[in-house]
């Protein structure tokens, strides 16, 4: 068994707001092993990005990790001083963001932005950093990298910019890369290029990766393990095959059933009724129960505990409890 790189325990992240605290992440626990790709899926607003930003210590100014620990290589990131955190970011842990259009500083050249982490963390001279920068651009597949170094972000296409972001993120050989929906804003053909690139590089550099996405297709392509989030909570976790082939949580099932299949014309689209609750909405019991077709009384009263389906797959749903499991399970498997 490979060593664990990142271990998040009971992470609670809240936002201060005029209407009181808003919990965006409600007690998430997961871990990432060396060389492994963990995918976090869930719909918009369920707390995926906030989870990632909590790890990076880059929460917006009104955000706060109010509980839990984040241990990265045995060090608790949640308790580090800003100075120590600076040394970790961009060096041991890197992150790529969703919007390639805005993630690069418009007023500096690509070269400047790629040299920066090299000079900070690896203490390279400007010249060395420049040479290394060109290598990195080459590595992520950017044509004529020497010229690109002197160009500005607006002179590059979205796909190119995302490659630059990847090059920056990988510049110091991080042991963990967090990619927050790196392809959502891109066209399918470009998306395919980027995903392939990330997959290749991960192998090549032997890093661990957390991939955040809402696209089940991407998950299937890239993940080793998958976490499904709903309304700030992790509701299901398991190996990618288990999640796709034996989804246990009604939400996971719903999610899979509501994506039209390109290959199957007769695929029966089954929408999940309703929509995501607001952060501050008070929902008793399971946060999914208002939308759950299988919900019963207990779901409305008590928050479900985590049930282990296999040693790798766990799910938070009362349907897993003895007795009800049969009933719900049968209906679900008939999907």
């Amino acid at each position: 068994m490979k060593e664990t790189v990142l271990e998040v325990k009971d992470l609670v992240t809240t936002f201060k707001s005029a209407d009181g605290p808003l919990p965006a992440v409600r007690g998430a626990s997961f871990s990432v092993k060396k060389g492994e790709t963990l995918c976090i899926v869930g719909e918009s607003g369920c707390g995926k990005s906030i989870t990632a930003l909590s790890i990076m210590g880059l929460l917006p100014s009104n955000g706060l990790i109010s509980d839990g620990s984040i241990s990265f290589n045995q060090k608790n990131l949640a308790e580090m001083s800003p100075k120590q955190m600076q040394k970790v970011r961009g060096n041991d842990v890197s992150m790529i963001f969703q919007e390639p259009m805005t993630a690069l500083n418009p007023v500096f050249t690509i070269g400047f932005q790629i040299r920066e982490p090299l000079m900070i963390h690896l203490k390279l001279s400007k010249k060395q950093a420049h040479m290394r920068g060109i290598e990195l651009l080459k590595m992520v597949g950017i044509p004529s990298p020497v010229e690109r170094m002197n160009q500005f972000p607006h002179e590059l296409s979205g796909g190119m910019r995302q490659r630059v972001m990847i090059a920056i993120a990988l510049s110091c050989n991080p042991s963990l890369l967090i990619a927050d929906e790196p392809t959502t804003a891109l066209d399918v053909t470009i998306q395919a290029q980027i995903i392939d690139l990330l997959n290749d590089l991960k192998e090549q550099l032997d890093m661990s990766m957390i991939m955040i996405t809402h696209d089940m297709g991407v998950v299937a392509e890239i993940a080793d393990r998958v976490i499904v989030m709903y309304a700030g909570e992790i509701i299901e976790e398991g190996r990618v095959e288990e999640i796709f082939e034996h989804p246990q949580h009604p939400y996971t099932k719903g999610l899979l059933a509501s994506v039209p299949n390109v290959d199957d014309p007769e695929f029966d689209l089954k929408p999940i009724a309703g929509s995501m609750p607001m952060l501050n909405e008070q929902i008793s019991g399971c946060r999914f129960h208002p939308r759950c077709p299988y919900a019963f009384d207990k779901c409305m009263e008590k928050s479900p505990k985590t049930f282990h389906v296999t040693d790798k797959q766990s799910v938070r749903c009362w349907l897993q409890e003895e007795g009800v499991e049969q009933n719900g399970g049968r209906r679900a498997s008939s999907l």
Partner: protein, 324 residues
């Protein structure tokens, strides 16, 4: 789904070029050829999908068809009437027949207008109903798209994305059009909600006998919803075919690449992907010859000089390619 073979809307060699200004006197220096010669027949009751990468002119085509953009060239024939040169007054009865549903459910509703008023507006413009009758009709519409009567007095920001999209749909069908352009109506929605809206669109089509032009970049949705699909590249037609033929037998290399690039939500089966080189060229400066030749894996020399003809390779299956 049986497609009535009656042509509702005929689009003939339509072009839409946007001027690019620059230089000393802000003179027009160049043109973005957003739509560059599209010829189509849209049949009554069908759903015609339009797919392609961002910026290839899908939305512009939709808007041009609706008369929201002036034509640079070409003809629009609706129900046998050539409406390309009509004044806005002459167009008014046709506007009633054609409607649009938009991508962004947040931007497509006036945030300062109550939902009821927004829905009544079309009725005020196109009908002579009294305010009572209008209200009646709006309540009926709300019900039809799955909203409640009490939503009548609410403002858009009080709704979720999916609900707003329902309102947008209600507005589009309020004056009983026969033709609706759907410009990526579900791409901004969460997957779970997306399916709800797709279902609604389908039900409404059945009930009212609507014809859709369905613009999307989500090939899964298109396969699910459309009868025929048009693939566009840089403002030009690349392939047009009935949906099953396109998906099962993609012929143009671009269509092929597009289909192969989609990540499939099934594990284990690793499929070989056709990798495309580079990015979409700029539509203001498109490549000569076949627009796709710069990225095409099978491009030959003549592809860069000769424009491929639009030909039928199978019944209802058209492509523009020298090599296939």
């Amino acid at each position: 789904m049986a497609v009535d073979e009656q042509v509702l809307y005929s689009v003939k060699n339509v072009k839409k070029h946007f001027p690019v200004r620059g230089g000393m006197l802000q003179r027009v220096k160049n043109h973005v050829k957003a739509v560059d010669g599209i010829t189509l027949d849209i049949y009554k009751g069908e759903t015609l999908g339009v797919v392609g990468e961002s910026g290839c002119g899908k939305s512009t085509l939709g808007r041009t068809i609706l008369g929201l953009e002036s034509l640079t060239e070409g003809e629009l024939v609706f129900n046998g009437n050539n409406i390309s040169k009509y004044s806005s007054r002459q167009l008014k009865p046709y506007k009633k027949e054609m409607q649009m549903i938009f991508q962004d459910p947040y931007a497509s509703l006036n945030p300062k207008q109550r939902i009821g008023d927004a829905l009544e507006e079309a009725l005020i413009i196109h009908t002579n109903l009294t305010s009572l009758e209008r209200r009646e009709r709006v309540l009926q519409l709300l019900n039809e798209v799955g909203l409640k009567e009490e939503h009548y007095d609410r403002y858009p920001h009080e709704f979720s994305g999916g609900q707003r999209q329902r309102i947008g749909i209600a507005r589009a069908i309020s004056i009983n059009p026969s033709f609706i352009v759907c410009d990526e109506p579900v791409s901004a929605l969460d997957v779970s909600v997306q399916a709800q809206v797709i279902k609604l669109l389908r039900d409404l089509q059945e009930k009212h006998g609507l014809t859709y032009l369905f613009v999307s970049h989500d090939l899964g949705v298109v396969r699910h919803l459309c009868n025929r699909v048009l693939v566009m590249y840089l403002g030009q037609m690349v392939e047009l075919a009935p949906v099953h033929k396109l998906y099962e037998n993609p012929t143009h290399p671009y269509t092929e690449a597009l289909l192969s690039a989609i990540p499939r939500p099934t594990v284990g089966r690793k499929r070989e992907r056709i990798r495309l080189r580079g990015d979409l060229p700029s539509p203001s400066n498109p490549p000569t010859g076949c627009p796709f030749h710069t990225r095409c894996p099978i491009a030959k020399e003549h592809c860069s000089t000769e424009k491929p003809a639009w030909r039928e390779i199978d019944e209802g299956h058209f492509i523009a390619c020298h090599e296939r």
